[in-house]
Amino acid sequence: MILDLEKFARSEQPHWKELEVILSVYEGDSEPRLTLDEVRNLHYLYERASSGLNKVSAFGHEPQLQSYLEGLVARAYAAIHQTRDSSERVAILRWFRFTVPQTFRRHLRAFELAAALTLLGAILGGFALSVDPYAKEALVPSGFAHVMESPEERVAKEESIRTDQMAGQQVQFSAFLMRNNIRVSFLAMALGVAWGIFTCIILVYNGALLGMVAWDYITAGETEFLLGWLLPHGSVEIPAILIGGQAGFIIAGAVLGWGSRQSLRARFRNILDDLITLVLLIVLLLIWAGIIESFFSQYHEPLLPYSVKIFFGATQLAALFYYLLATGKDASAISHARS
C-alpha cells in the first residue's frame, strides 16, 4: 500500500489545523476549562492526528510531514494525558497556612538530621577552640573579621558606639546578606544530589563556625552580647539554612531510594513540589533575616538594650517553630495538599 500523500494531507489538513488552534488556546491558558463537547472534539482530533501519524510513518516516506504530525500528536498527548492539576496558580493564603507547615512536618526527620549535624559541628567547633585557641584562625573564613577579634575587644568597641554606624549602608548590607545566605542554602540543598555527603559537610562546617563563636563569647563572659547579637536574625537564618539542609537530604533520600521500590524518576516526581515549597520558605525566611540583621542585630547597648533583642529573637524563634510544627493541621487541607 502506498499513501497518496497530497490527497491525504489535503483531506486531513483542516482537522490538523483545528487541532493546532485548540492546542494553542489550551496551552496559552494557565487554567484551561473546556466543555464536554470541546473535550470530545479535542480527543477526536487527537485520535485522528494519531491515526494520520501512523499512516505517514508506515507508508508516507515524508519525514517533514511525519515530524509535523509527531509534534502535533505530542502536544495533544501532553494536553490530554496531563493528569496533574495543570493550574500553576497558587492560593497564597492556603499555601502559607497549610502547605508550608505540612510539607515541613512531612520531612521532619530530614530537618532533625540537618539540626543534629549542625549541633555536632557546633560541639566540634567549641571543642576545637577549647583545646586550640588558634583553631579560629584556621577555620573562620577571611570575610568574618569581626569574629576574629577577641570577644572583650569587640564588645567594648560595639558598646562605645553612640551613633548610628550603619546609617547609609543598611539596605545594601541587608541585600548582601540575603544574597549570600540564599546562595548558601541553595547550595546545601542542591548538593544533596551527591548522596547528601556535601550537604553534611556544609552543615557540620556551618555548625563548627557557630560553635566556635559561641564558645569564644561564652567563655569570655559575653553570653548576653552573643545572644543579643545572634538571636534576632539567627533565630530565622539558622532554621532557614537547616531547611536548606533538610531539602538537600530529601533529594539525597530520593537519590538513594532506601526502602523504596519506585524508580528514580518516580521518587523525584514525589518530592518535587515539596522541594519547591521549602525553597520558597527558605527565600522568605532569609529575606526577613537579612532585613533584621542589617536594621536590628547590628545595634547594641546602649543604643538598643540586649533584653529587647533577646526577647525579640526568642519570641521569633518560638513563633517560627510553632508555625512549622503546630499549625496547618486541618484534615481537609491535608488531603487537598497531598492530592
Binding site: E6, L65, E70
Partner: protein, 266 residues
C-alpha cells in the same frame, strides 16, 4: 562504561493509544553553546542594570547598591526560570540553537520542574564551565544534567512545526508518463518507493533551496531516474528536470486508483 552515541539519542514515547513519537535529544556541546549565549545575555542585562542603578545612586548610593546586588542575583537565577516559563522551555540561547526543555514523559512542563532544573545549576556549573553538568549529560542516555534529573526534564532539538507545502507534489495536472503504463510499471519496479521518496522530499523543499542548488539537485535526480527507465522523446521533450522528477514521483507514489486516500501499491 562506553560513551552513549548522542548523535542518535532520542526520547521515544509510546502513547496508551499505541502511537509512537520521538524527540531528538540535544547533546552536551550544543547545550553548552546555548548556555554561552545565555551567559552573554545575563551579562548584558547586568550591564543594563548597573547603568540604570547609576541614576538611583545619585539619590541614594545605599539603595542603588542594594538594587544591584539583589537585581543581579535575581537575574542570575531567574533568567532561565522566567524565559523557560514564558517561552515554553526556551531561553535566548536555546531559541538560537533550536533547543527546548520538555517534561521527560512529553507532558506539559510545570513550574516546579523549571524552578528545580534551574536551581540545580548551582551544582551543574561546578567547578567551572558546567563541568559536572556536562559530564552528566555526556554519560546519561537522555543527555540529562543533574538539574534535568531532579526536575524530570530533557532538552530536545525543537522540531519544525509548520506543515510542509504538500501542494508542491501536485505540480502540473497533466503527467505525460501516464500515456505509457508499461513504462510506468517498469519505473515503479526499477525506481521503487524509497528512491521516489527522495524526489518527493526534494519537491516539498523546493522553495527552501536557492535556484542554483535547486537546479543541480533536480538535474541529478532526473538523470538518476532517466538512467533506470527511458521514456520516448515525445513524453519528455520540453520537460524541465524538475517536472521530470515530479512526473516520476506522481507515477510511483500516486498511481491511478478509485480510493482517494490509500492507493494499491505498484
Amino acid at each position: 562504561m562506553p560513551a552513549p552515541s548522542h548523535a542518535t539519542s532520542v526520547l521515544s514515547i509510546r502513547t496508551p493509544e499505541g502511537v509512537a513519537f520521538s524527540y531528538p535529544l540535544a547533546g552536551p556541546i550544543v547545550r553548552f553553546l546555548a548556555w554561552w549565549i545565555d551567559a552573554l545575555a545575563i551579562l548584558g542585562i547586568n550591564i543594563g542594570l548597573s547603568s540604570s542603578v547609576a541614576f538611583v545612586a545619585a539619590v541614594s548610593p545605599d539603595i542603588a547598591g542594594a538594587i544591584f546586588i539583589i537585581g543581579a542575583f535575581i537575574v542570575s537565577i531567574g533568567y532561565g526560570m522566567f524565559l523557560e516559563w514564558i517561552w515554553y522551555g526556551q531561553t535566548l540561547g536555546k531559541k538560537f540553537f533550536g533547543l527546548r526543555v520538555i517534561d521527560d514523559q512529553a507532558l506539559r512542563l510545570r513550574g516546579p520542574q523549571i524552578i528545580m532544573r534551574n536551581l540545580l545549576r548551582a551544582i551543574d556549573s561546578l567547578p567551572i564551565g558546567y563541568a559536572i553538568g556536562g559530564a552528566f549529560a555526556y554519560w546519561h542516555p537522555q543527555c540529562k544534567r543533574l538539574g534535568d534529573l531532579v526536575g524530570r526534564t530533557v532538552v530536545i532539538l525543537a522540531r519544525p512545526e509548520a506543515l510542509p507545502d504538500l501542494a508542491q507534489i501536485a505540480g502540473a495536472k497533466y503527467n505525460s508518463f501516464r500515456n505509457y503504463p508499461h513504462l510506468e510499471a517498469r519505473l515503479r519496479q526499477q525506481v521503487g518507493v524509497e528512491m521516489a521518496s527522495l524526489g518527493l522530499r526534494a519537491l516539498i523543499r523546493r522553495d527552501q533551496l536557492e535556484s542554483g542548488p535547486r537546479a543541480r539537485l533536480f538535474a541529478r535526480l532526473a538523470n538518476l531516474y532517466r538512467k533506470l527507465v527511458r521514456f520516448p522523446d515525445e513524453a519528455t521533450e520540453s520537460l524541465t528536470d524538475e517536472q521530470y522528477v515530479r512526473n516520476v514521483v506522481d507515477s510511483i507514489l500516486r498511481p491511478k486508483s478509485k480510493n482517494p486516500t490509500v492507493a494499491p501499491a505498484a
